[in-house]
């Protein structure tokens, strides 16, 4: 079954061992190997994380004290817009796709992804998309300044000329994501080792399968939304403008019909990662494995019927607000199941606190805080007060930074020794963890208070009573930002083997029963499994 893949990729292997810059470049440009592409995705997302993070540093520098300091108001709007867009589409999403590329074939006992050529293309669209997006900053009239949500008419009537480049970049990102999702689904269905049933798949694979379906369902809706914006801008249509019979509120419905599943696209793979890490370091199988799969599916389904909770303040019939409020609150049930299962996995476990475990545990605690503030925001009358304040900013950074980003860092620390064959310095990694943990909370926790006190988001200046908390937030932000340079240092030095510790195939004591990836060498062979491994169902089933 696998012979076709081995012979045909063996040829490729030979090309890879040429020398000189041309050979090096063509290796990365033309690679169809899932590990190479996974590495490209991860490095790309890391670069975007640092870039969008430095934009956040500028935002926090401007907000360090009241009044206008560093940037003018339009540039401030560009900074918040670019920070959001790049973190969502350039940092978090590609990081998860990179992890999927690296881990899925290894976890499923496959030699590679099912569609390697398309895999190459879906990665290489991204550097072009983001070059186009970032280049708009230097164009006449400036880059996008309407927030990552690009509400009409800010993105139509009142938008800078460069918005068309933004639209094209979003189209490219969408195509890339859809191709990545198709590849993942086909790999999971058709390249899984025959002895592994669907229900046997690791939770990370399950979470990605469901995420991939979400991507396929909603990325085309985003593509439609930007297409309508383009048509309104240039082709005389009036989808979102009242004078032609359109409606700007329609934009918000379409955007959030995409946007709410999108925010779950950024958290479901994180659930999968944490569900892999906690059992390893608690030395127990995951509690409630099957209920985890049902919970992820339920969350994915619910994500399609809650979108208007982002727009309570826009106005809608009371019955509609009730529907969206209660459907939003129901999401707390499957999410609660997941939190309960993680905590139960820890219960009476033989727990050790290696760096990936620290990040995973921080995820469980801090994501839950973000979940609670989300429940508060779901309450319609309360949302009228919280809408567009720093309370919302605090909420979504708790679920995205200490949620998605911490999970990605946990995954990096968990699998980095597997990928590189070298262990990193636990002391440095733990130092990075504590800096991030303190920096993150110092940055985002006071934002709750600022929001409750009425500080609006996306505004470059603020009233004097907010000055103290903003100073604390900015200091926390600088700490969190700077500590990611330590992360960069650790990753580079580990990849170069500079910490001098070889990783065993199992990497973590007792990890072997938790997945096929731990039966391969560290680093694993270029083509993960050339013969399908046999899946042995755990005894406790």
């Amino acid at each position: 079954m696998m012979s076709e893949n081995t012979t045909h990729t063996a040829d490729h292997h030979d090309h890879h061992h040429g020398h000189g810059p041309i050979a090096w470049m063509s290796r990365w440009l033309f690679t169809t190997n899932h590990k190479d592409i996974g590495t490209l995705y991860l490095w790309f997302s890391f670069a975007m994380f640092l870039f969008a993070g430095s934009l956040a540093m500028l935002i926090r520098a401007e907000l360090f004290q009241p009044g206008q300091q560093l940037v003018d108001h339009n540039l401030f709007n560009e900074l918040t817009t670019m920070h959001g867009l790049i973190m969502v589409f350039g940092a978090v999403m590609p990081a998860f796709v990179g992890l999927a590329n690296w881990m899925l074939p290894m976890m499923l006992g496959a030699p590679d992804m099912a569609l390697p050529r398309m895999n190459n293309w879906s990665f290489w669209l991204l550097p072009f998309a983001f070059t186009i997006l970032i280049s708009t900053t230097f164009m006449e009239g400036g880059g996008p300044n309407f927030g990552w949500t690009f509400y009409a008419p800010l993105s139509t009537t009142f938008a800078p000329k460069s918005t068309d480049f933004f639209i094209f970049a979003v189209h490219l990102m969408g195509i890339s994501s859809v191709m990545g999702a198709i590849n993942i689904i086909v790999t999971i269905f058709n390249l899984r080792t025959p002895s592994m049933r669907m229900i046997d798949m690791p939770i990370f694979v399950w979470s990605w399968l469901i995420t991939a379906f979400l991507l396929i369902a909603v990325m085309p809706v985003l593509a439609g939304a930007v297409t309508m914006v383009l048509m309104d801008r240039h082709f005389g249509t009036s989808f979102f403008s009242a004078h032609g019979g359109g409606d700007p509120v329609l934009f918000q419905h379409i955007f959030w019909f995409f946007g709410h599943p999108e925010v779950y696209i950024m958290i479901l793979p994180a659930f999968g990662i944490v569900s892999e890490i906690i059992p390893t370091f608690a030395r127990k199988p995951l509690f409630g494995r099957v209920s985890m799969i049902y919970a992820i599916s339920a969350i994915a389904f619910l994500s399609f019927i809650v979108w208007a909770h982002h727009m309570f303040a826009v106005g809608m019939p009371v019955a509609a607000t009730q529907f969206f409020m209660y459907s939003t609150m129901i999401i707390a049930v499957p999410t609660g199941v997941k939190i309960f299962n993680w905590v139960s996995t820890l219960w009476k476990g033989s727990i050790t606190f290696e760096p990936p475990m620290l990040f995973a545990l921080a995820f469980v605690v801090l994501f839950t805080i973000g979940g609670f503030s989300g429940l508060m925001l779901a309450i319609v009358p309360v949302d009228f007060q919280y809408h567009d304040t720093y309370f919302v900013v605090a909420h979504f950074h708790y679920v995205l930074v200490s949620g998605a980003v911490f999970a990605i860092m946990a995954a990096a620390y968990y699998w980095l020794p597997k990928w590189t064959g070298y262990m990193y310095s636990h002391t440095l990694a733990k130092f990075h963890f504590w800096l991030s943990m303190i920096g993150m909370n110092l940055t985002f926790f006071p934002m709750h208070f600022l929001g409750l006190a009425g500080m609006p988001r996306r505004i470059p200046d603020y009233a004097l009573q907010f000055a103290d908390f903003n100073k604390i937030v900015s200091i926390g932000g600088f700490l969190f930002g700077a500590s990611q340079l330590l992360f960069l240092y650790i990753v580079i030095q580990t990849a170069r083997g500079r910490f001098g510790i070889k990783a065993t195939p199992e990497v973590w004591e007792g990890a072997a029963p938790h997945g096929f990836e731990w039966t391969l060498d560290s680093p694993p062979p270029h083509h993960s499994f050339t013969t399908p491994p046999v899946f042995v169902r755990p005894a406790h089933h």
Partner: protein, 181 residues
Amino acid sequence: MSTVVSQRNKKNHRLIAWLLVTVVVMFAFCFAMVPLYEKICNEIGLLGKTTNQRVRVSNFSSEDLTRSIEVDMVSHVSTQIHWDFYPLTTKVNVHPGQVKRVDFYAKNRDDKTIVSKTVFSVTPSIAAPYVKKAECFTFKPQTLAAGAITTLPTIFFIDKDLPKSVTKISLSYALFDTNAK
């Protein structure tokens, strides 16, 4: 061995085809949301929208004298149209079923002929389905030559089935230039 490979390729292609169909369907669904949203808004009065169609008055001849509704007339003028536009009466009291006429003043201050379009909406939106119009300038675009002045009539009545909780209604008329970008 090659049959196994071609079988797997066939399986892959079938799955890819289904996924691509989903992508196309969802892209189309995005555009289908436009008429769907319009229909839902008009039917349930979401955002105070109405079907804004002519209703024959003779069907509603009797008045409900037990109730009196305050109706505020509100005008908005888009920043992109250089017209003066406002209701000549800003507040009227009507009994449900009572037919009322209110005139709007309109002047084209621009130096060229402008075709305008007025978007009509009702607050609170719960009252939207009960506002009926026998005649209204919002039914079709209005053209005014440079400097021209006119009076634009709206003839409406409130349906007697209006929920008892509503005692005050605002009728909003937002004026736009049909040629504006």
